[in-house]
Subunit: 352 residues, 2 copies
DNA sequence: GTGAAAGCGCTAACAA
DNA sequence: TTGTTAGCGCTTTCAC
């Protein structure tokens, strides 16, 4: 009775569950090792056997168990990407670039979201040690306070490639855009168009990206010998409503700025909303240049000049180096180098 | 002092690639099974031993090997989500909703992108059989031509929950928004605002979502007894440039439409661009309602009325049901049911 | 050209 | 309460 019950379960399992190499081997009267070799196109297996094996595998839709293979091989053919904000369009484009290269080389990609939180980032990184990924592409969660978890990962021979918010105190390949130069170009645009009072809108985190952009803003003023007051560099938090309120106040003032460089998309939009809301007709008198990747900058009126990062290219460049290195196994990923990919500045003038 | 001891142990293992349960067991003079049980907080292990084990594990930053565990347990504590377009903002919000619930329950999430391509989707699904995920949340790649791969997955006891572009011929839980109703409301808005000649802009795929929106458009006209000509239902491909050209032509005509319902964000934007480009001053005479999740609709002029899907909620609802079912192991995921979460219609009027 | 057997790291049934 | 052992599915020596 008990036996029948078990037999029944076994049969049910046999049809319903997964096909393994062992099942194939039994059906074909071969050893599992032979089947494995045949499926991996080993040269020591006869063409005839290979054909038999592959045919049956296809017919039964055999899929190798990723975990068994990963355990045995000690690698996963998977790379991980850690971004600070999964919903952000910029990072999505980077991810798409990475994924495209991965797919082309038979790698899988797992996306992790650090929510701009170092604690979360650490959790992700240490979890990665479970062998889930062979390598990591990442943009830091926030200000670079802690790096032990990154060094730890590298010591475990899991290479890291950094992009955008790169680490300063960890060696490795770093892919960035020309943030300072781009901010410089954007600011010069404002100044050359006649802006007399420009402001820089930055997020209050001390991210390397924000710093670079601020430097570019200052650099342009210095070069054109235009004095900058303290009130020209503004810092904002993450609360959009509050930010907009501050900006509205700014634009209501009589000595309001006539040129704005926004170092983040959300700040550019907040500035734009604040301008739109000012009842006195200032919008057209204030030029805005914003770092952004949004697809609708050309639809706004007055138009928003933009600095767009080459996100997709950034991602595919990272992945290309990574996978190449993973394959030849000779690459030294701790080599410190920086690759700069230029942003695209688009000036848009009001038609009115 | 104790700490120093642990640090010493750490150094001793520093060159070894990874810490395993076996390493811990040796250091502690315990069996691997004891260590395993201690780490999993088994009740049959003494508190003292537990403490010793957990302390060392922490000090060495032990991380269990995900592949070994997955292989042994035959489950991965991971769920997969398959979306047609990873870069699309709507799907990103859904993903965020799913991820939030997953994290809260200790599940990992892997995102797969089908690129709106059924062949790609099949590849993903069959690859999933490798045991990488315990369950799947998905929105179909395209028109529902093929479903064997989905049924296959279900037969392998991997539950699927559908959302947005749901399957008609596969049983299961289906989470959707009220597309027909939302389109109906949007269209009625246009008609009540006095539009005499309305057009529906849809993508030419036959997705269930597009169909429902089209139905809503027609329903509103029928209800208000306003006749619809053939030329009122327009279908577009995926080439934005070409779409915009077609729309420009449309708006240049003397008998141009004065109301537009766009069933996809990209079409709404193309229509908007086309309107902005027409030299004759038509923009303000044409009202546009678009399905969209973009964050800047309020910045446009003339304003764009929008129908936004509750993407995050959709995602978290799917994940909640899924994980609950995975946990109690009693849920029948082949039960056919539909959960409708309402969209949000926002009417925006021109201030001019 | 093919088979037998070991072992990747983990958990659980069974022993003690 | 702890130890011994088997085995998840796969690849890879080492035999033959």
């Amino acid at each position: 009775m008990h036996i029948y019950h078990l037999a029944y379960l076994y049969d049910a399992r046999a049809d319903m569950s997964e096909i393994t190499i062992k099942h194939l081997a039994e059906k074909l009267n071969l050893a599992t090792s032979t089947v494995s070799r045949a499926l991996n196109d080993s040269h020591e297996i006869s063409d005839k056997t290979k054909k038999r094996v592959i045919e049956l595998a296809k017919a039964l839709n055999f899929q190798p168990n990723a975990y068994a293979r990963g355990l045995r091989e000690q690698k996963s053919k998977t790379i991980g990407i850690i971004v600070p904000d999964r919903v952000n369009h910029f990072f999505n484009l980077v991810i798409e670039g990475v994924e495209t290269v991965c797919r082309a080389h038979g790698y899988s990609l797992i996306v992790y979201n650090s929510y701009e939180d170092v604690a979360q980032e650490k959790k992700i990184v240490y979890g990665l040690l479970g062998g889930k990924v062979d390598a990591v592409v990442m943009s830091l969660a926030d200000e670079e306070k802690e790096v032990e978890h990154l060094k730890w990962l590298q010591e475990r021979n899991i290479p890291i490639i950094f992009f955008d918010r790169i680490a300063q105190n960890v060696k490795g390949s770093k892919y960035v855009t020309n943030d300072q130069e781009a901010a410089y170009i954007g600011t010069k645009h404002l100044l050359e168009k006649g802006c007399k009072k420009t402001v820089f809108l930055g997020l209050s985190n001390t991210s390397i990206v924000g710093m670079a952009r601020k430097k570019g803003f200052i650099q342009a003023h210095e070069e054109l010998e235009i004095p900058l007051s303290n009130s020209s560099i503004l810092e904002f938090g993450h609360d959009d409503v509050q930010n907009q309120a501050i900006l509205e106040k700014l634009f209501y003032k009589l000595d309001r700025p006539d040129g704005v460089l926004a170092a983040a998309e959300k700040l550019g939009l907040s500035a734009y909303r604040a301008l739109a809301k000012t009842k006195i007709k200032v919008p057209n008198q204030v030029k805005v240049v914003s770092f952004t990747n949004m697809q609708v900058a050309d639809l706004l009126n007055p138009p928003l000049s933009t600095i767009a990062q080459p996100a997709f290219d950034l991602g595919s460049a990272c992945a290309t180096e990574l996978i190449k290195g993973l394959k030849d196994k000779k690459t030294d990923f701790s080599l410190d180098k920086k690759i700069i990919i230029p942003s695209v500045f688009t000036a848009r003038e009001s038609s009115q």
